[in-house]
Symmetry: C2
Subunit: 237 residues, 2 copies
């Protein structure tokens, strides 16, 4: 397939590398390709310059967001951070019409006015915005009514989303949610190709609330197990 991945951060790179390995034609979108290629320093998350990643993964095309989306023949993975996703995706417009967009962002909002007791690598535990009575997944679906938005991947680090068997032989659970059943199936098929055997369809995009709000429990489990411990959750039933 011709698959677009929007974003060049660590999560996006995990999907890009895996999709190339699976034989897909991958079109990567970034806000300003020239600026992305000019970067020589690691980003705020410590991820190295994208140019180095491209050199290690030949055959990947780098475009603007819009051109990458246009090059996709049906599937787009959104790796744009949650804070900027709605604005950046809305600006793409027609090139996303009729396509399936899988979003995996946690809508963290750094708020310097709130004191959080929880240390993180970046200082404090960010709050979520939106949260509880709305979700980023729903916001994106409202902003792009002609696109089939699916929330997925968000309950896990992307490195293990593309390599589920690295944890417990792969016996854990991935969730998908979205208004369009065919799009949820498309995401499920992609996950199956990644090695997932237990993908739980949560139905409509409203379930993105629970998937995004799980970020706090995910963080707490991560702190308890210690940084660097990969884990997943299995719905035992």
């Amino acid at each position: 397939m011709k698959i677009a991945v929007l974003g060049t951060g660590g999560g996006a790179r995990a999907h890009i590398a895996k999709l190339v390995e699976l034989g897909h034609e991958v079109h990567v979108g970034t806000r300003d390709p020239r600026a992305t290629l000019a970067r020589t320093e690691p980003d705020m998350m410590g991820t190295g310059p994208f140019k180095e990643f491209l050199a290690e993964h030949p055959g990947i095309a780098l475009h603007t967001f819009g051109d990458a989306a246009a090059a996709s023949d049906g599937l787009v993975i959104n790796g744009i951070d949650g804070h900027n996703a709605v604005a950046a995706l809305s600006a793409i417009g027609d090139q996303l019409t009729g396509k399936t967009l899988i979003d995996y962002a946690v809508p963290y909002r750094y708020n310097p006015d709130i004191e959080h007791p929880w240390p993180t690598p970046w200082g404090v535990m960010p709050v979520l915005d939106p949260c509880d009575s709305d979700s980023l997944g729903e916001q994106i679906q409202r902003a792009l009514p002609a696109t089939k938005v699916v929330k997925a991947f968000v309950t896990q680090e992307q490195d293990t989303v593309v390599n589920p068997k690295a944890i417990g032989g792969g016996d854990h659970t991935m969730f998908v949610a979205g208004e369009d059943a065919d799009a949820r199936q498309q995401a499920t098929d992609l996950l199956t190709s990644y090695g997932w055997s237990d993908v739980l369809d949560l139905g409509g995009i409203v379930a993105a609330r629970g998937m995004e709000m799980y970020a706090h429990l995910h963080g707490a489990i991560g702190f308890a197990l210690g940084f660097g411990t990969h884990f997943g959750i299995k719905v035992v039933r």
Copy 2:
């Protein structure tokens, strides 16, 4: 042990019955014992009159909240609903001093001004209050600084909290959080006596945020699996 259970709802009853079965002396607290015993109709959750439950479980003492807490020799389980918990527990005061209080409430707030698309048995998906930058567990700990508050049980229906082996042979995960390590261990020991083999200590009470906010994902999984399907989550690592 002499254990107090505050509340007479379905969740509290699951713990009461299990604790009696395990040979503990159980002291149940209710706001107004006379009113509780006078009830002859099911409550809003469809739970039958407490008088019938007492008749089926001989040897249980029914007290006011304060008298039940006073009768405990160290451990109190809070089954007061999240909306009323802080006020009701604050009113108990000294009888909780120095004791371990395990809270399992989800702080649902029914808000008729917000339209929720998610049908539940009681109409809509309630929002959480507090949420994200605070939790009920933290609120209770702040209200009762001389009590060792532990958040636990909240990620699962109480019927399976007291009977974990009913799901997947018991191979799923329970979480505990609280400021006092001994109190977390006390909760862990109780869970072990219930049959739990994987209790994950999440550290300080701030982790109650994640445990309470998981309610949305728990609800979504429950809807996906269908009502009546019992499930738990296993942290696979």
